[in-house]
Symmetry: C2
Subunit: 236 residues, 2 copies
């Protein structure tokens, strides 16, 4: 395999514009791609596909890149089959995955990624690179035909990973508790990506990037902190 | 219909033992029930059915009540059919709902509740009284055959409702944003039950109980705060 992925926790860090904190990495990642196709299906706050694609296209245009929404193609499956690079934005993971199944895009997108096409995801768009969406933080507002996702990484992703607040009096489960519960029913490792962190996979070499460590949860083991710039190719 | 329900946000408030803050209400609610059946299927932190039932039975015994785990019956569907009162504990809502489907308990439990049998739920056990589990906070760690729940209330429940933190720099969606997203895909009102709050429905009269207001989300309207002791029978 020759996977090339940017698996990004969040599109936006506090106090800076959409994608700006990571845009130089994005430019480098897509440097050989003359048109990036944007998958707007996750629809954050229910925004229309058109509006969401326009927002992403504007941010990419400002950085000198050409991005086109998948909704502008008559045949989305054919569009992905011909794509040179794909970016899937965040929003609701269940809405995203259901539309990927309903449109038939999921399978062709998986094949393209496994064939080396550069793929970038943020938040929900990162979540779907894992084996299942079983570690999403989103509410199940629609019912997808399966929780199986792209599965182009042999792990699950938890974006926007949030550390427990030691002062909290809230009795809802912490993120860590939820991931432990996941491991009572599932085997694959889970990577908790804090905001401003991402995985960069180029030709089968995987690095953790960004300012913060990530938290690796393996079934039956204590969680492990991974430092920025750690080579995590062993997870592939 | 003659529904009798205690729909409780949380089993445990910070700094006090399991169920203790609400036990006098529970005693009153189940006063005519000589044996309460406990549904342990939500398995918080993956605990076994037996251990979970033992924990609930101990708390009920201390308050002079007799509670028996559903896992001790050879035929769970028959047990629920004969039940005089049922309590479903919290844990993972997906795990709970899947087991209710797989065991066949869901349908018979719905009929019993609509026939007036007292039913109490905490957290995930409250979530399933709504139309769907679409407003759970839990991770989708197993795939249930549907998101449709008991539907004995014409609303959805969000337990452990958490107000946005105005100082947060975290860019993951707030609970309120997630519920707004729910309403881009679903019509039913959502009741956000803060910790220590519950709905008490007796013979078709519904009250909001506990120290804190609840937050009512109706599609296309601004959210509304409901004061404790408000008559919310209009939501039935």
């Amino acid at each position: 395999m020759k996977r090339n992925l940017l698996v990004v926790s969040t599109s936006t860090v506090h106090g800076s514009p959409y994608l700006s904190y990571i845009m130089s990495e994005v430019q480098d990642f897509f440097r050989d791609v003359d048109e990036i196709i944007f998958i707007p299906y996750a629809r954050p706050s229910g925004v229309s596909w058109e509006s969401y694609s326009a927002k992403a296209a504007a941010a990419f245009a400002e950085a000198g890149m050409n991005l086109r929404g998948l909704e502008t193609f008559a045949d989305p499956v054919a569009a992905i089959r011909e794509a040179k690079g794909v970016f899937t934005g965040g929003g609701n993971t269940f809405v995203l995955l259901k539309e990927l199944y309903d449109s038939g895009v999921l399978d062709v997108l998986r094949h393209k990624i496994l064939d080396g096409m550069p793929y970038m995801g943020t938040s929900a768009g990162s979540n779907i690179t894992g084996m299942t969406i079983g570690t999403t933080n989103d509410m199940p507002i629609v019912y997808p035909p399966s929780f199986e996702a792209l599965g182009v990484l042999p792990v699950n992703i938890n974006p926007h990973y949030l550390d427990p607040d030691p002062d909290s009096k809230h009795m809802g489960e912490t993120r860590e508790t939820r991931i432990f519960e996941f491991h009572t029913m599932n085997n694959q490792p889970v990577i908790g990506l804090r905001e401003g962190s991402w995985l960069e996979i180029r030709n089968e070499k995987a690095l953790l990037k960004g300012a913060l460590p990530a938290r690796l949860f393996s079934q039956g083991k204590d969680p492990e902190e991974l430092s920025p710039n750690t080579d995590i190719s062993f997870l592939l």
